[in-house]
């Protein structure tokens, strides 16, 4: 049975400032949702809050995934449950190679003692290497990528590809892509778009945060939501992106009585 992530009346504040103010949203495995909203409307705040960033304080509301109260869990436990966030601004970890880190992450998420894992709880090196190389090829990244330090000195495009590589390796149930398309050239958007659409299937639910319908040409969402003033004010289908393209956010702001 497919599982869903249900967000009810969520309130999140950052350093005492309320940013998310009563947000409702539900994403099921196998569904594709797009979340759009102007700069500063709280999209990344929602994403990080869902993943358990300590700075993003949940004041009230609930987040349930597969019957589990997500808000009670540490970020790593959320990852093990099947949540994934592709960061808008991934953090550099100097001195830690992408491959070394990913082997730990994959082992942690798939569970210690999972089939074939070694005594130290890590998945066998050869198996890991094979899988990593395969997925890097699909993403069109060079083999040397694996030896580079995680996000350290990566170009904008490399960072976003590294995020998608992690998504592909960790095989989550629900993935939030926070502006994975921004900062990418047209070719890179296509590669990322195609890679993500390859991952899409009945086991993966996706929440795509984006400003541009470009990416959505590759990954067509069934649901489109508009975030304004910390709430989802409109939900609809593909046609909503067309309305936004043509008219911008102002008519929606006016309709809901929200000041800029």
């Amino acid at each position: 049975m497919s599982k869903d992530l249900t967000i009810k009346d969520l309130h999140i504040s950052v350093q005492g400032n309320p940013i998310i103010k009563g947000l409702n949203l539900s994403v099921q495995q196998g569904e594709i949702h797009a979340l759009m909203g102007p700069n500063g409307s709280g999209k990344s705040t929602l994403a990080k809050g869902l993943m358990g960033h300590p700075l993003y304080e949940v004041d009230s509301g609930e987040v349930i995934f597969d019957g589990v109260d997500v808000l009670e869990l540490e970020p790593n436990e959320r990852a093990k449950l099947g949540l994934f966030l592709a960061f808008q601004y991934p953090t550099a970890i100097p001195g830690v190679s992408l491959a070394n880190f990913l082997r730990l992450a994959v082992s942690a998420v798939r569970g210690k003692g999972a089939n074939g894992s070694e005594k130290d709880g890590l998945i066998p090196m050869r198996e890991f290497r094979r899988e990593l190389r395969e997925k890097m090829q699909q993403l069109g990244v060079d083999d040397s990528f694996a030896r580079r330090y995680l996000n350290d000195g990566f170009s904008g495009g490399e960072m976003k590809r590294a995020e998608i590589l992690q998504l592909a390796m960790l095989e989550p149930k629900i993935a939030i892509l926070d502006e994975t398309d921004s900062g990418l050239d047209i070719d890179a958007v296509r590669i990322v778009g195609e890679s993500v659409s390859q991952l899409i299937g009945p086991d993966l639910g996706v929440l795509i945060i984006t400003h541009y319908p470009r990416l959505l040409d590759y990954i067509r969402p069934q649901f489109v939501h508009i975030l304004l003033d910390g709430r989802v004010v409109e939900s609809g289908g593909w046609e909503l992106t067309q309305v936004l393209e043509a008219e911008g956010y102002d008519p929606i702001r006016e309709k809901h009585g929200i000041d800029e």
């Binding site: 790593n76 970890i93 100097p94 001195g95």
Partner: protein, 454 residues
Amino acid sequence: MQKGDFSKEFLEKIAATEPQWMREKRLEAYALYESLPMPHTTKDDVWRRTVDMRTQDYWRRTRRHLRSFAVDRYHPSVPNGAVSPEDVDYNEAETAGVLVQVDGQRQHTSDSEILKEKGVYFADLHTALQAQPELFRSYFMNKAVTLETALKSGNIAQRNKFDALHGAFWQGGYLLHVPKGVRVEVPLRVYIRMSEAEQADLSHTLIIAEEGSQVVVLEDNLSTTPDASGFHSGAVEIFAGQNANVTYVQVQRWNRHVWNFASHRAMVARDAQLCWVTAMFGGRLNKINQAVVLEGAGGNAKMLGLAFTDARQHLDVSTAQEHVSPHTFSDLLYRTVLKDRAQSAWGGNIYVYPSANHTDAYQKNDNLLLSERAHADTLPGLEIQAHEVRCTHGATAGKIDAEQVFYLMSRGLSYTEAEKLIVEGFFEPVMERIPLESVREELNTSITRKLVTS
């Protein structure tokens, strides 16, 4: 085991079997030792940071760190040759020679055929004193670490009571002499151990690499018991002769109850290369004075430091890169991780003398604090008196980055796993410059052990 004390009578006893000139050298050091007052951490500038840096202003009367240290509590052993061998773990095929010393006593030396064939001399210091008096006389505490070697802080220089103590009562350690043109690619290994409580270890390292020679020395200082208190008063002297290539690695893993005082000094001759790795994990209080002197044109020194302290450990390191000749190069990178209430003070100086035009000197010290209560002071310094010099220096101290921890945790790593990865990444720039895989592995083991103990 027989024990001595730091008295003139004991000095006479250990000098009884030694040449007259050595006895006189010891006595001279003893006179200096007697004349210098015990360092005072509030009055003596060069010892100012060898004290609890958080509390010194408010708790003058608490007996902390150096103030609770009493030399007299510790006993040097009486040398009587080799005692029964102890197991050490090393790969024989990758080792050119081994020396094991426990509580100041030589236990075991083995030279490979290669060393004998090539005329390399490698022995404990007491044996060497009898066998190599000329080398000894010309190098031992005569050119590198001497009684004149001073601790420095800004313009203030002060002779070091512990160097004098070492000169008077040194015991144990080793002499390595690599003749002209001899190249030993496989490392030599030295294991210096302290096992008994209230033991004083006064080991001395003397490495002489003649012109065009090459050698790699891996030295491990370790307490074999976790809570036997101890005192180490050591010295390291390295001579990299013209065009020689020396790699020296010292891993200090004394337990947390050892008071550690040492002066390390290396002399780098014309076109010589020195790769010097200092890793520090142990000690209750460490006061380390480390200097490289680029004496000859074209000399090149790489100084790598890696330290991890926890509990209430205190680490006070002063480094100096002294450029005497032109076209010399030095590059220092020290990285320290601090846990719990550990404290570290690092003061580094680059001196470029008027005779050292066209010098490149780099210096960097970075500290990573894993707890709110850890404390790191870092003071880089430059003193340039020459022309066409390229120097950079920098220092950082910062807490573990919460964004990095979150990023890794969001990928499934626990806090502990994330912290470990960040620490390993922090040490990586030092590690990647260490040319020996086996050393990197040993260091990683020590780092992991530090991370898991609490």
